[in-house]
């Protein structure tokens, strides 16, 4: 699906990614875990084009996408849901959704069809269509944000710490919404510090450390390994 080969990237103070090799399986939910500053979010940023890699290759299928602009990456079928609340609070839910389809704005029929499909998967889109995004609860906003990312029918959805700062009820919503995205046919690549949550949701797990991929295994295997748990998931995970 997407493959990173010896990717090096950083923010001006040297390389944060120091030769990342990563293969995300088509149809998987892949969750990247690891210490703070290991380069997890940086991997997502290099894929979505927000950060240009200094060296290495990123291929979506057979298509190289490294060095492309964020808009070109979206057009290629990769959408990132930002870490923080990224809805436009003063716009209605409907307008927010239409902005998600900005790249296909000239294809009115497709826009309409996509809105209908997403409203079916996430009923809140239709129910609260005319309400301002700011009037929604935290969980509802998160659902709309996820749905908005799907407007252009991406083949790969990037989630950067989707549960950050959310209450337990809303975390549950995120869990279900991610499953729903997956069920609609998208591959999901996510970063999550809530490790147990992330790996329970995921099919594949990736452990990063020091700007490299240390380990990539099925999520259930990773969760079951006591050595990895002790090193990366904290003492609570062993109990």
């Amino acid at each position: 699906m997407i493959r990173l080969e010896s990717v090096y990237a950083g923010y001006g103070g040297g390389d944060v990614l120091q030769g990342v090799d990563l293969d995300v399986r088509q149809g998987s939910i892949t969750c990247v875990v690891g210490p703070n500053g290991a380069g997890k979010s940086t991997v997502l940023r290099t894929i979505s084009g927000l950060l240009r890699p200094r060296a290495g290759q990123i291929r979506l299928g057979d298509q190289p996408i490294h060095g492309r602009s964020p808009a070109a990456v979206i057009a290629a079928g990769v959408v990132q849901v930002p870490q923080q609340d990224g809805l436009f609070g003063r716009l209605t839910v409907r307008d927010n959704m239409l902005l998600g389809g900005y790249l296909i704005r000239r294809d009115k029929a497709r826009l309409r069809r996509r809105m209908a499909e997403l409203a079916e998967a996430f009923p809140i889109i239709a129910e609260r269509a005319r309400d301002k995004a700011a009037d929604l609860s935290g969980g509802q906003r998160r659902i709309v944000e996820f749905a908005r990312a799907l407007m252009t029918e991406p083949s790969l959805v990037l989630l950067d710490e989707p549960t950050l700062g959310l209450d337990p009820k809303t975390c549950q919503t995120v869990f279900e919404t991610t499953k729903a995205i997956h069920a609609l046919g998208a591959t999901v690549l996510m970063v999550e510090q809530n490790v147990r949550f992330g790996l329970k949701l995921a099919t594949d797990g990736v452990v990063m450390e020091r700007g490299r991929v240390l380990l990539a295994e099925p999520a259930t295997d990773l969760l079951a390994r006591p050595d990895i748990a002790a090193m990366f998931f904290g003492a609570t995970a062993t109990t």
Binding site: G14, D15, A38, G138, D167, K169, N194
Partner: protein
């Protein structure tokens, strides 16, 4: 080290060269050009302290030349002495005007400040023009003629202003290295946050404004003496003010040498347009040149020449290197907290919030919230997103002025205090989205936090000695020891969170308000965070923690307060609260599976 030595040699050589120009050439044209350059350099250096370090862009900085010039001129005439003798008084007058400007603009930031500073220039020009009894009004004011032998030409002006340039550079270096300078740069990056870590922003800014004006005022008197006839047009000239801003931006805002380098470039270019494109349109060409130069700087060198060149050299020297990256934690012991000097007051509730109500327009964010935090306790503040938890913190630390209600710390009402005063009184808080001073290094971010305010402390070196050692220890403890010299703006979310925590510990408050400390933090580190909070709690610190990770927070807390829709829904022991049906319904949700075993 050799690079630093080479740099020093180049600087010394250039200073010597400029110092010897009058000896090498008798050409007064060059002398006059350099005199003007010096005036712009002194003014741009002063501007840099306000606009570069502190982030307050002034379009009227040339006004201090006028204030200094007229003050010196009037006093010299009145006392019948050389203007050189009263020049320091010109500086004093400029500093006083700057102080007034600072007081008048206490709450004015950004674009509004730019406009106010320009208005000050115009206003002072207007007053000078109309106060004709003293200033000569639109007739101008005649300075005494130089008393020295004609053979010395303009040398006294030249060297007086040259010394002022050197003094400006010296002052800039001193401020840059001091606690004061660190505080100013913190204000530039995030003024409210700076107050939150104990920086008395109003005092710091006042000092910066005065420091930025005093030498300009002195230079103003000398410049006035040099031009001989003071007029509002030359002494309160907006074009000069523009040149000053341009010089600082071209050379490098916030650097020591940038404004001086910029002054040389801007004045030379301006002179070039005057001579080659002379005639009646020279003024217009000059404005086009300024506009074009500004455009080039903004588009190509947004940081100015010196920082851009410096980065290039640094990059070439270092080549492609790896930056420090996150790894498993080593076991680092918690550095011992400094001994608390305060005597324990008798009240049992350290922090008490009574009938707190916050309204924003028609929205009631908090409705009669009352909670007491016993001394030495760990209180969990939980509730759904949007229930008002962070608003409670904002009311306690002084970010918001409350609509009604009161906050007391150790029996003392703190509702009327400013943020920095509350930080000194013992309130420290972290932010949900960590707020750091992005242009400072990690260790500077921690060292800038100060639990007390002493005027004498401002001149101390910014990052050295016991404080720097403690900052480094705290960073080591939170697992950020490898990043001491990294720019805070380059860190990831979780790392920023950790640095903010170290910053908070540096402040060493009585009550520590943590806003989602575990969010975005690796589980291994979360375990360490638990140990840290326990250790600090054992040594007598009181905590209030907002957190959605129930496992984390309820295992720590001995009390829990649940908020929902701005009201207190439940208040009691963690186990009680966890079992409360109303809490389950509002917050935890029917399915506890996800939240419970994070």
């Amino acid at each position: 080290m050799t690079a630093a030595r080479a740099r020093r040699a180049v600087i010394a050589g250039l200073i010597l060269l400029v110092a010897l120009v009058p000896v090498f050439t008798p050409d007064t044209y060059i002398h006059n050009l350099l005199i003007l350059t010096f005036v712009v350099a002194v003014t741009a250096s002063g501007w840099n302290i306000v606009g570069g370090f502190t982030g307050y862009v002034s379009l009227g900085h040339g006004a201090f030349i006028g204030v200094g010039g007229y003050t010196g001129g009037v006093l010299a005439a009145h006392w019948d002495v050389s203007p050189f003798l009263v020049a320091p008084l010109g500086g004093l007058a400029a500093a006083l005007v700057a102080l007034l400007l600072g007081l008048a603009t206490r709450k004015t930031r950004g674009a509004a400040f730019v406009i106010v500073s320009y208005a000050m220039l115009e206003l002072l020009g207007l007053v000078t023009r109309n106060w004709s009894g003293v200033t000569g009004g639109s007739q101008g004011f005649l300075m005494p003629l130089p008393s020295w032998d004609v053979r010395f030409q303009n040398w006294p002006f030249y060297y007086a202003l040259f010394v002022l340039v050197l003094l400006s550079i010296g002052m800039t270096v001193a401020i840059r290295r001091s606690k004061l300078g660190l505080g100013l740069m913190a204000i530039r990056d995030d003024e409210d946050k700076a107050a939150g870590v104990g920086v008395r922003t109003a005092v710091y800014k006042s000092i910066a404004f005065m420091a930025g004006a005093v030498l300009v005022g002195v230079a103003g008197t000398v410049y006035g003496y040099y031009v001989s006839t003071l007029s509002v047009g030359t002494m309160f000239d907006i074009v000069l003010s523009m040149q000053v801003v341009l010089a600082a931006l071209v050379g490098g805002r916030g650097t020591v040498w940038g404004p001086v380098l910029g002054a040389f470039l801007v004045v030379s270019l301006s002179e070039l347009t005057n001579t080659t494109l002379g005639g009646t349109d020279a003024g217009a060409f000059r404005l086009i040149m300024f506009g074009g130069l500004l455009l080039v700087v903004v588009l190509l060198l947004p940081k100015g020449i010196l920082p851009t060149v410096g980065n290039l050299l640094e990059h070439r020297r270092r080549g492609d290197t790896a930056s420090p990256t996150g790894t498993r934690l080593e076991d680092t012991p918690l550095p011992p907290a400094p001994a608390r000097s305060g005597t324990a007051p008798s009240t049992s509730d350290l922090l008490r919030v009574t009938d707190l109500t916050m309204r924003f327009g028609g929205v009631t964010a908090l409705d009669q919230v009352t909670m007491a935090v016993p001394r030495g306790s760990i209180t969990a503040l939980i509730g759904p997103n949007g229930s008002g938890k962070t608003t409670v913190f904002n009311a306690i630390d002084g970010t918001y002025a409350v609509t009604s209600g009161s906050v007391t710390l150790a029996g003392r009402p703190i509702t009327g205090l400013g943020r920095a005063q509350r930080a000194h009184a013992g309130v420290g808080r972290s932010h949900q989205l960590p707020r750091l001073f992005d242009s400072l290094t990690v260790v500077e971010n921690v060292a800038v936090a100060t639990g007390e305010f002493r005027l004498a402390g401002l001149v101390r070196s910014a990052v050295s000695g016991a404080e720097a050692a403690r900052a480094a220890e705290l960073l080591e403890f939170v697992g950020m020891g490898a990043y001491l010299q990294a720019r805070a703006g380059d860190l990831s979310y979780g790392q920023r969170k950790l640095v903010e925590l170290a910053q908070l510990l540096m402040l060493d408050p009585d009550v520590i308000l943590l806003d989602e400390p575990a969010a975005g933090i690796n589980p291994t580190l979360r375990a360490r965070l638990t140990a840290l909070i326990r250790a600090l709690n054992d040594s007598g610190r009181t905590f209030v923690i907002i957190e959605h990770d129930m496992h984390f927070v309820l295992s720590l807390a001995d009390r829990a307060v649940v908020l929902a829709r701005g009201r207190v829904l439940a208040d009691g022991e963690p186990d009680e609260v966890r079992a409360d049906p109303a809490v389950l319904e509002a917050y935890l949700g029917a399915d506890l599976a996800v939240g419970a075993d994070r």
